[in-house]
């Protein structure tokens, strides 16, 4: 197989990879923030001296399951659940849907913990200053806390985003065709490692680009520290 046709086949697969990547980010970045808020929620009741916070507890359980079980297993569960539980027929689009849902649910849990560490890292004095000045809770969050949180979470976020690009290869488990699936089938039929090398280079370059972009953000926010 010529290099050009190899790259064009992988390129097609890479478009699917990017679709999973961007849709996951689009869903998991905001959902993670919601999960972080639920996790930090103080609503609850007292039993003796102990405070029970049901919303936070449920969220903590969700996060621990997402982090404590393999993403591939989660993918299979999300993909097959409609069939085994509800007897629904699975189609080609259900592969894609399952991949996106599983990735968003999984990554939102990781992002939530990153957000939480970022939010809790902002000094208490920032909240107090805003409160005394009369900022509302949402003004305090969006104007004072959020921008400072973003600066704090960029390095761990870069890690997770780079991991996401690589994790998209797990979608092969439910037969969703992305770049890794394509590379594997080419490699099988050609009896050569060429396709794997080419795919590796594409993953690597994509992640270099991500790291570079995130580095630019970090630099942009390095004009201050606390």
């Amino acid at each position: 197989m010529s290099f050009v046709s190899l790259m064009s086949q992988l390129g097609e697969g890479f478009i699917a990879t990017l679709q999973v990547f961007f849709l996951t980010l689009l869903g998991a970045l905001p959902l993670g923030l919601v999960v972080a808020f639920l996790r930090m929620n103080h609503l609850g009741f007292h039993i003796g001296k102990r405070k029970i916070r049901p919303i936070s507890l449920i969220t903590q359980f969700y996060i621990s399951v997402m982090r404590g079980t393999p993403l591939m297993l989660q993918l299979l569960v999300v993909y097959f659940a409609p069939y085994y539980v509800f007897g629904m027929q699975l189609s080609d689009t259900s592969r894609f849907t399952a991949v996106i849902i599983a990735f968003i649910l999984n990554y939102a849990a990781y992002y939530a913990e990153i957000y939480r560490s970022g939010i809790q890292g902002v000094p208490k004095g920032q909240y107090e200053a805003a409160e005394v000045l009369g900022y509302t809770r949402s003004q305090t969050f969006f104007r004072i806390i959020f921008p400072q949180m973003v600066k704090r979470i960029l390095p761990p976020m870069t890690n997770e985003i780079v991991t996401l690009i690589k994790d998209t290869s797990l979608a092969f488990a439910v037969g969703f065709v992305e770049m890794f699936t394509v590379a594997r089938s080419i490699s099988n039929s050609q009896r050569s490692l060429m396709a794997f090398f080419a795919a590796a280079i594409i993953y690597y370059v994509a992640n270099l680009l991500i790291a570079w972009i995130m580095g630019r953000f970090e630099k942009k926010l390095s004009y201050y520290h606390d």
Binding site: G125, A129, Y135, I144, Y224, D226
Partner: protein
């Protein structure tokens, strides 16, 4: 007519009482110094007056706004959002650790709160901010961020930020405790200037000479109670109570 009045304030952290029946009020134009050993309840009192903490029982009023008063069971009951918001517009607070918004420039630190909270126009707020910046001796620092300023400069920005909200009373919580002696003087000079303009202020401080010279009235707090209070010179130079005398003796030296 007092601007702020706290009456019979009680507050405990768990089983540990920090404020025990504190009553204090401040008149317009008055400068009150609060002195006393650490852990005596001075900061907690300021935090209660600025609504950063709630007290267990007692009452708090700003002008004619009742912020909190005792209910039938003798527990402090706080007013609704609206009254709290109006009360907050009456005071400003300068923190020991400045607490400037670290991602904002000096100018934005001073000009954003009046626009966001009070809905004032940008032009008007900027004009006032420029005056405050020159009054605080911060010309040329407008576009710098807090981390590039000295502690004394940061504290002066914090004072400007509080003043730009046009508060009727300004609280200082140990404003120079985080500063070197040299930087302490520049901040004290600014506060002295405000006193000359008859700004109403309550200053928690360990600077006894400053309290004696600038405050009209000095309150000595220890163990969650007001041990002694009176004209600044009298309390600091001729304290009547033994605890006050013992405390002030540690400052002579």
């Amino acid at each position: 007519m007092s601007i702020v009045s706290l009456e019979h304030i009680h507050k405990s952290y768990g089983d540990n009482p920090v404020l025990r029946d504190i009553s204090i009020s401040v008149d317009k134009g008055e400068v009150v110094g609060i002195i006393g050993p650490s852990g005596g309840g001075k900061s907690t009192l300021l935090r209660c007056a600025t609504l950063l903490e709630h007290f267990d029982s007692g009452s708090l009023t700003y002008d004619d706004i009742v912020v909190a008063k005792n209910d039938a069971q003798g527990k402090a009951e706080y007013a609704g959002k609206d009254a709290i918001k109006r009360a907050k517009s009456k005071f400003g607070l300068v923190f020991q650790n400045f607490n400037l918004f670290s991602h904002y420039t000096v100018m934005r630190n001073i000009t954003e709160p009046p626009q966001v909270v009070q809905g004032r126009s940008k032009d008007e707020v900027y004009a006032q901010a420029k005056k405050l910046i020159s009054q605080m001796g911060l010309e040329g620092k407008e576009d710098m961020v807090p981390c590039d300023l000295s502690g004394g400069q940061q504290q002066r920005v914090a004072i400007a930020r509080a003043l730009c909200m046009n508060p009727e009373i300004l609280y200082f919580d140990e404003p120079t405790s985080a500063l070197d002696p040299e930087l302490t003087q520049e901040v004290l000079r600014v506060i002295r200037g405000l006193a000359d303009q008859h700004m109403t202020m309550v200053i928690v401080t360990h600077e006894m000479n400053f309290a004696r010279d600038v405050a009209d009235r000095v309150v000595f707090m220890d163990g969650g109670v007001i041990v002694e209070e009176g004209p600044a010179k009298q309390v600091i130079e001729h304290p009547q109570k033994k605890r006050t005398q013992d405390f002030l003796r540690t400052y002579e030296g």
